[in-house]
Amino acid sequence: MASTAIPTQAAPHATAPYAEKSGVWSWLTTVDHKRIGLLYLYTALVFFIIGGLEAELLRIQLQGPNRHFVSAELYNQLFTMHGTTMIFLAVMPLSAAFFNFLIPLQIGARDVAFPRLNAFSYWVYLFGGIFITLPILFQVAPNGGWFGYVPLTTKAYSPGVNIDFWVIGLLVLGVSSLAAAFNFITTIINLRTPGMTLMRMPMFTWMSFVVMFMLILAFPVITIALVFLLFDRFFGTNFYTITAGADPLLWQHLFWIFGHPEVYILILPAFGLVSEVLPTYSGKPLFGYPVMVYSGILIGVLGFGVWAHHMFAVGLGPIADSVFALSTLLIGIPTGVKIFNWLATMAQGSIRYTTSMMFGIGLVALFIIGGISGIMHASPPADLQQTDTYFIVAHFHYVLFGGSIMGIFAGIYNYFPKITGRLMNEPLGRWHFWTNFVGMNLTFFPMHFSGMLGMPRRIYTYDAGQGWDSYNLISSIGAYILVVATLIFVYNFFMSRKRGAIAGPNPWNAGTLEWSIPSPPPEYNFAVLPYVTSRYPLWEGGEADAESARINSQEGRSAEELGIVLPYSTIKPLLVALGLIVMFSGLMITHALIFIGAAILVGSLYSWLLSPLEPEHH
């Protein structure tokens, strides 16, 4: 990489717009999609580390038989919070960081459609995340599993406050996801730059587009399920009350109609990122673009028709089992096509092994394993020997760690220069990749064996002589390696942020619109809105593409000088989010808080709606 030859120097003033606006207040009031993206990124990385530490404690406990490093009660809280944290507070928001930062840049927009709503989404996420995470410090964290099956989570069997935190936390987090989804759908539909037809959109934006629809269809379902549970727990209704004759399968159906699409909500953004990374470092356009779009949509649609494969053990009967087995097998086809198309993208290319590319290839390699084991338990009879064992734990970690997390790291290494203006350190990046890759496989591959050899999930300890000891020891060693990997990453991230080599607008010679503007992008993104004539404007675009890219990449003037109108900064979205969380926590603390929270919420929302978004146009 020639980049190392560039002497480290301060970024020129014009390309460092963030330096102008610093201080805590500017972050609390920002409505700039790029800064909100950064807030998401930092917050989600903190939660990623918290979730990782929780997993680490689990692995210390399971390192050998009959260990009591943590109590049964704490273990159950830790595995519940590990799942909840990684899904809702780490992986989804990491994707959201990319939605925020990238989507407007990729479609040639100056911001999202609703900048203040965007800020609101972030603050709700932050407050909800803190609300659901803090109790672990006092050992009163949620302990019903991330899937929260009733009747275990009803008041009769979980009388403590643990589940209250979980129900309220998830309800609040759902508000954040829904607001973001509507925002980005509107953005993608309305704010595309001239010439940016749907079939010219970068694949990351496409996959995000699919995910947004999945969010608005899936989250209302979990919201209903959670509201039922909330009403049962706080107001004595009987949706899940066993003694009143409730059917526990109501919760399971509602939860998994949300829960399975949620899996694709977690993986599709990573697929999108990899579909940007592989072409960039192979020097070739994505192979079979239309098929990649259709298969993404198909995965999204089919994702809503497979939920009962989480329920093969509940006894739905042979017909239901068969139908859901077939629909689940069917979803393997578009997923397989995606993998083949990625392979074809790389084939005949000229592959540069940057850290980002290595993570991208890692995703392909590991997702194949997760996909194959997924097919194995798509078959209900086989699944009945696998479900709720460590085989499943192995499977979904290959999908979510091998898939989502590897994809997100590929994205971070690829877009770090665009976000910060500096390159990440490549040798450290390679160390990160290899320790991560080895640690990941060492942790999760043996779980295929311990599961098929009879080890159930979610047990806080196991007895000696069951044939699981060595596999668990290997898994725990792998988990320690993952700690080292993460430390390398964190060090690299912060060192490169300060001292990394200056990147320039397009350090990787990529082809999409976000690389046509300075790094980091100015507040207004595009000095002139580009006219797009192809999928990779910087590679194969016409005169017009080249001209707007030339202007945009060299622009150094401020928004005022260019006469670009930008929205006002405002604290109101934060206040509305604060009111929301205060209102909900009043349910648990004292009812007076409900009224105080509602007052803050209504008051600041009213004032938000009455204040103009931006200065009047002249």
């Binding site: 979980s158 053990a313 009967g317 397989g336 074809a344 290319g349 290899w434 069951q466 044939g467």
Partner: protein, 417 residues
């Protein structure tokens, strides 16, 4: 040069992983799903073998293609701009059809096996009702009027139809060597049936709860004893009646493993009746089915006490025990909140597979069950013991039992053969 180094590094990591897995494979695997011992297990295993074969082929082919592409097309000095291919409809249709074709070979046997294994059980199958409790198993044989806990005896060669219900939250019934699992769902009834291989020698299998059910989900285990039909008949004959109280002397127990070494408790021996077949008594026990859990730190019991079963019966019948447990033949003890203790003395474990059923462990269990197994409903009974749930010390007024009284109860329960 650099490439070679990286290759060697990958190879050495790979070798390390293979070595570690090979080491692990040397262990005994008493709960494996790969060597089923029932028709149900075999039907699943047949499917699994096919899945594994297809999966291995796909895995090897696709990963090889990936590795080939990644090495073959790495950037070299003087590379021209690669061909800007956008796609190829024929190839893409081709590799859409391939997975569809492979999946057919999975779908057809899958649906067949679903309908085969979920058909109604044959008439004349042995009915066993399985009732899930936090965190133990109640087993009932309606045909014979037997109620027991955490241990099932089933005859080889006869189909057993399990009727699954739950008393509280959702549990799941799984004995990996005998077949797949099925949930026990509150307000619902599920069935699962299997026929243990008729040619196998009497054996003992581990079973687990596989649906997270709260604090001690990890300690909700059970045992399945597959025995010859005549042994089963003998066991049934014994279990049907009330316990033959004090039939045999209990041999002096070895001190418990772990922190505490409780006293030897020898119940009185009297009378003589023919006990029926019980697995641990009449057969060498399988080590994997014997709990190895150490006693929690801080549990102690007075040394050198001798329990008296008759005194024990009196203590038991006037203590908190009768509020939850039933013992056929003891009119004071008819509650059904906790496990039925009628033939408790012939069971292999206590606390749903948590500890071996020896006087030493039993004494500690009665003294402070809540320390022995987290979250259990059974109260702390030992005098001056600290109750971890109520956060108080148990007093005489609350019905606390001293060590001698506990030793007597142990003698009584152990005598219930």
């Amino acid at each position: 040069m650099k490439g070679n180094f990286r290759l060697r590094r990958i190879a050495s990591f790979g070798m390390l992983a293979v070595l570690a897995l090979a080491l692990a494979a040397c262990e005994q695997h008493p709960n494996t799903t790969f060597s089923p011992h029932s028709d149900y297990g075999l039907a699943i295993d047949f499917l699994w073998d096919r899945l594994l074969l297809l999966a291995t082929i796909v895995f090897v082919l696709v990963e090889s293609a990936l590795i080939y592409i990644v090495f073959r097309y790495r950037k070299r000095e003087g590379d021209q701009r690669p061909p800007q291919t956008h796609g190829n409809v024929v190839i893409e249709i081709f590799w859409t059809l391939i997975p569809a074709f492979i999946l057919l070979f999975i779908a057809v046997p899958t649906v067949r096996t679903i309908f085969k294994t979920q058909a109604k059980a044959v008439a004349g199958a042995l009915q066993i009702e399985v009732i899930g409790h936090q965190w133990w198993w109640e087993f009932r044989y309606p045909e014979y009027g037997i109620i027991t806990a955490n241990e099932i005896y089933i005859p080889t060669g006869r189909t057993v139809n399990f009727k699954l219900t739950s008393n509280d939250v959702i549990h799941s019934f799984w004995a990996p060597q005998l077949g797949g699992k099925r949930d026990l769902i509150t307000n619902r009834t599920n069935y699962i049936w299997l026929t243990p291989d008729s040619t196998m020698q009497p054996a003992e299998w581990n079973g687990f709860c596989t649906e997270y059910c709260g604090t001690s989900h990890g300690k909700m285990r059970f045992r399945v004893f597959t025995v010859k039909p005549d042994q089963f008949a003998s066991w049934v004959a014994k279990e049907r009646g009330p316990a033959v109280f004090g039939a045999t002397a209990i041999p002096t127990p070895a001190p418990a493993a772990g922190a505490a070494t409780p006293a030897m408790i020898v119940p009185v021996s009297e009378g003589s009746a023919e006990p029926g077949y019980t697995f641990p008594a009449n057969q060498p026990e399988f080590d994997y089915a014997k709990p190895h859990t150490p006693v929690p730190a801080g549990m102690t019991f007075t040394r050198g006490l001798t329990g008296n079963a008759h005194r024990g019966q009196q203590v038991y019948s006037s203590a908190a025990c009768i509020g939850c447990h039933a013992i056929a033949g003891n009119p004071a003890s008819m509650a059904n909140i906790g496990p039925n203790l009628t033939h408790f003395g012939s069971r292999a474990t206590i606390g749903a597979g948590s500890f071996p059923n020896t006087p030493a462990y039993l004494a500690l269990w009665i003294k402070n069950a809540r320390v022995m197994k987290p979250g259990v409903i059974m109260p702390t009974l030992g005098m001056n013991e600290f109750d971890p749930v109520l956060k108080t010390q148990v007093t005489k007024a609350q019905g606390g039992l001293d060590d001698q009284q506990i030793a007597d109860i142990v003698a009584y329960l152990s005598a219930l053969k």
